[in-house]
Structure formats: C-alpha cells, structure tokens
Amino acid sequence: METKVINKRAGRIIADVLMVAYFLFALFPIFWMVLMSLKSTDELFTTQFVFKPTLDNYHAILFGDPRAAAGVVAKQEFPRNFMNSVIISSGSVIVSLIVGVPAAYALARYNFKAKENLAFTFLSFRFAPELVVIIPLSVIYRKLGLYDTYYGIIWVLQLITLPLLIWVLRSYFEDVSPEIEQAAMVDGYPWWRIFFRILLPLVRPGLAAASLLAFVFAWNTFMFPLILGASQVQTVTVSALGYVSSAQAFFNRMAAASVIASFPQMIVALSIQRYLIRGLSFGAVKG
C-alpha cells in the first residue's frame, strides 16, 4: 500500500519534471530571442544573462538609428515591412472569407457528385509543394504586372488561407443541425436571411478563430513574398533574413524585429485556445 502511494507520488513528480523539461526546450529559444533583443551591441558577444537591458534595438528598427553609418540594413524599413505583412495577411484572409464561407456552406449542406473530390482538391492546395505554382507564376506575374504587388501576393496566398477556411468552416457548418435551418425556412425566412440571422451567429466563434489562424499562417509565409515580391511588398519574414546576411551582423536588431514580428501570433494563440485543434487539423479533429 505504501509503495503504491510513493510510486504514485514519485510518478507524478517525474511527470512534472519531464513536462517542465520539455517546456524549457520549447520556450527557451523564444525567451532567448527576447533577451537578445534587449542587448546593446557592445554586450552582444557575451553570453551573460545579466546585462543592462536597453530598448535601443527597438528604437533603431522602428525609427531608424541616428548613430548608424550609411548603408546599414533596414533603417526605417521595418515599419513598412510590418505594414506590408498586415496588408497582405488581412487581404488574403478577407478574400478567403468572401470566397470560402459560401463554398464551405455548399460543401457542408449540398450533395452533388463531385463533392468530396472538390473538397479534396481544395485540401491538396495546402499539401502541394508551393514551387509548383510559384515558379510558373514568377514568369506570369512579370508579364501581367503583378510581380511585387499586393494583389499578386494576396492571390497566391489563397493556396494557404483558402483550404484552411473552407475545411474548418465546413466542419463548423456541419455541426449545426440542418433542421434548424429548415425550421427557419418553414417559419418564413428566405435563405440569405437564415444565413445571416441564424447560421452565422452560431458559427461566429469558430469563424473568428479560423480567420485568425489563417491570418497567422499568411503572416508567417516566406516563399511567396520571397519569389513573387521584391522591395515594394517585402514582408517581415523576408526582411528578417536581411539582418543576418548583411555585412554587419546586427543580431540584436534582428531579435528585436523578430519579437515585434511574432507578437500578433502570440496574441492570436492565446485568444483562440479553444478552437486551436479544430483549426490546425482542418476540421478533422474536433478537440
């Protein structure tokens, strides 16, 4: 009896230790990035954890570094890159919502022959190697004048945001019993009123969570703005590389830029905890 109790307790402690060990592994790099961002350039090459924190790096990337010599990378471009990321991510999510919400509804409610094939085709966008579409587009976009434009990137990003929204929303629509819509029909309401007054309110939290998740994925994308964009639409992800490949390695600036560039995602992650699993698994797991 006593051994059982001790084993249980020992087991619990070991479990807790293992858990904490993993989370140290998981969160340390992020923690270290924040630490880096607060280090002044002189203290950069020391590995001390005790140092004088400074906001100089943030200041430099946001407002430009008055002490920097000419030719230093990304003087005031960071705010611009940040805005580009905002515009491109919001734009692609909005387009995906307008296109995807009706499509998700059709896939959830209507039955037609090619339904599952169509649904799988949308899913295959997410799993397809991006270059198979980007390489031809790099030629096409230049011809159409879409190279290095917001529209061009927003359009390709549908490869990422549209499958997510369609599949996740489809699963939320399927959760609503069709009889509720039928009751509203019998009660005298046409389809579009039913959609806005009954259906949307019922899926609204899932819809919001899926949109935020899609926003994060659009924001984190790298290949599309790298190849199909240049200076006009450079996003924070592409510019992050710029800090390291320049002649002077401003690691601390890069860290500060990374912290700011990662901030929206963390907020999203904390706010959609409940919907995370369904969103990440494209509706396959209801969690």
Binding site: P129, I135, I140, A255
Partner: protein, 317 residues
C-alpha cells in the same frame, strides 16, 4: 374521394401545366455560391498546368526562345539520371521521416504528460503552441543564432554539461540533425495537441471494463488505446510528413541548401535551379514529381483516416 380530387384540380386546370420544379435560380443556388471558389481553383490550376508544360520544354529565362522547344519527358529523364538526384531524394526522405517520427513519439509523450488534471499541466498547455506560431523563418533564425559560434548559447550549454561543441549546420555531418531539430522544436506541439485531443476523446467505459476484467497494460494499450488513437496518429502523420517533404523555409533560412549540396531537398533544388539559375524547365520536374508523390500519398492517408475513424467509433458505441 375521387370527386374531391377533381375539385382540387379544378382550380389548377385553369392554370397552365402546374410547375413541378422550383425556379431555375433557386435550383442553381448551390452551384452559384461555389462559383467564386471554383474560379480561384481554376486560377491556381492554370499556373500549375503551365508549370507542368514548362517542364516539358527547355525553358530557361536567360535563353530566349527556349520555351518553344518541346522535349517531352526529357527533363525528367535527365533529372532521374543526374548525379544530384539520389542525394536529393535521400535527403528529402530522411528529413521527412526523421522529423515525422520524432514529432509523433515526442508528441505522444507530451500528450500523455499533459493529459492530467494538474494546474501545471493546464498552464503549460496554453503555451504549448508558441513554437508553432513563430514564423518558420524567424524560428530558424533564432536557432541559427543559438547555434552561432560567437553569440550562440547552445555550445556553451553543451560545454557546461561536459559535451563538446558542435558545428551544427556548418558541416555536412550535423547539418541534417540541426534542421530536423528546428523542425521538431517547431512542430511537436502540433502532434502533441492532436494526440492530446485524441486521448481526451476516449470513452472511459472500455478501459474500466478492461481493468475489471484484469487486462494487462500492454493488452489495454494494443487493443484499446492504439485503435482509438490511430485516426489521430494518421492526422499527425498526414500533416507532418506531407509538410516536411516540402519543407523550404527552415532549410533555406538555415543554410540555403548547404553546406554544399547536403540539404538540397526537392524543393530546394527546384528553387536553386529555377529561381536562382533561371533554368525553369530543369528545376520544375523536381517540384512536379514531389507534387504527385504528395498528392498520391495524401489520398491514401485520408482514406486510411476514414477507415481508422470508423473503426475507432465502434469503441465508443
């Protein structure tokens, strides 16, 4: 009775043949609301189709007129017989398999640890997803920085516990390990979350019955836990394996495919050949072949998932 039906028809007999179908616009509604998504679908298929076409020519951006030269499957043939092909295939598969397997096993362990009711578990679960939320490029850069000989923290940590310093991604021996490490750091939370959802979805009755019947731990695991967990495992494998086969951001940010050709996976090769060297028709076959491999594999995995789901559902009824 028949008399009544006649009176019912009386009013409609005056009308033209009674309409038995809803108006056309009403019947067409399902297809109309799908239209925008279909347009985007076509809009994606067009460049894809063009890409496949390019791969059948000798298209190179620095050689005018090369697009008109149709050579069929010659590029594919050349690709398969090229010196880098085996290396590329090997490294693509090694990366995908090692990342997926480690993430699956580690994720399962974490899911089991988190599947408890303690306060610590609940708090930690909220932060679980953070590594996955950071942009892959940025996450890789952080690790690259940590691996850096001058400012990095990893080697000092290794040294404090008595282990020698590593050269991480700068040398071929540890390059794969370094990028897989980043992948594992970034995507194990995904596996853990999905498997945790799976563990939480188990009905208690079969396990209680097994315990009452005196089943061994292994028996319970093999005949109850595993079948009920299989659909979730398949989801993890589907997403992670397919994603890591085409992983670009992590490898590119770390070494751009190096050192040398060590990490030149299919997509990296396609990028270098088509975008950097501008030889589109030479690089596209890698991307196209990868596409078909992924497409076919994912179809099978989705089918398996359906079967596994139905089988698992049998346990909860």
């Amino acid at each position: 009775m028949t008399g009544d039906l006649a009176s019912v028809h009386a009013s409609s007999r005056d009308l033209p043949q009674a309409r038995t179908q809803l108006p056309f616009l009403v019947r067409a509604r399902p297809y109309l609301i799908l239209l925008p998504a279909l347009l985007i679908l076509v809009g994606i298929l067009i460049p894809f189709g063009m890409g496949v076409y390019y791969s059948l020519t000798t298209y190179a951006l620095n050689r005018p007129g090369s697009l008109d030269n149709f050579v069929g499957l010659r590029n594919y043939d050349r690709m398969i017989h090229s010196s880098g092909f085996i290396n590329s295939t090997t490294i693509t598969l090694k990366y995908a398999l090692s990342a997926t397997i480690v993430e699956l096993l580690l994720g399962l362990g974490i899911a089991i640890l988190l599947n408890r009711d303690t306060l610590l578990a609940k708090i930690l679960q909220t932060t679980l997803i953070f590594p996955m939320m950071v942009a892959p490029v940025i996450g890789t850069l952080i690790w690259k920085l940590m691996m850096q000989p001058s400012v990095g923290i990893l080697n000092p940590i290794l040294n404090t516990v008595g282990l020698p310093s590593l050269q991480w991604a700068s040398v071929p021996e540890t390059a794969l390990f370094s990028v897989v490490l980043v992948d594992v750091w970034m995507f194990t939370p995904f596996a853990a979350l999905i498997l945790l959802a799976g563990l939480r979805s188990f009905p208690r009755e079969p396990f209680e019955a097994a315990r009452v019947d005196g089943a061994s731990l292994w028996f319970t695991f093999r005949n109850l836990t595993l079948p009920m967990l299989t659909p979730y495992i398949i989801i993890v494998v589907l997403f992670r394996f397919m994603d890591s086969l085409k992983q670009f951001d992590i490898i590119f940010a770390m070494t751009e495919g190096g050192p040398g050709n060590t990490l030149m996976t299919y997509q990296l090769t396609a990028y270098r050949t088509s975008i950097q060297y501008l030889r589109l028709a030479q690089g596209l076959p890698y991307a196209v072949m990868l596409f078909f491999a992924i497409y076919i594999t994912s179809q099978y995995l989705v089918k398996f998932w359906g079967k596994a789901q139905r089988r698992a559902a049998g346990y909860s009824s």
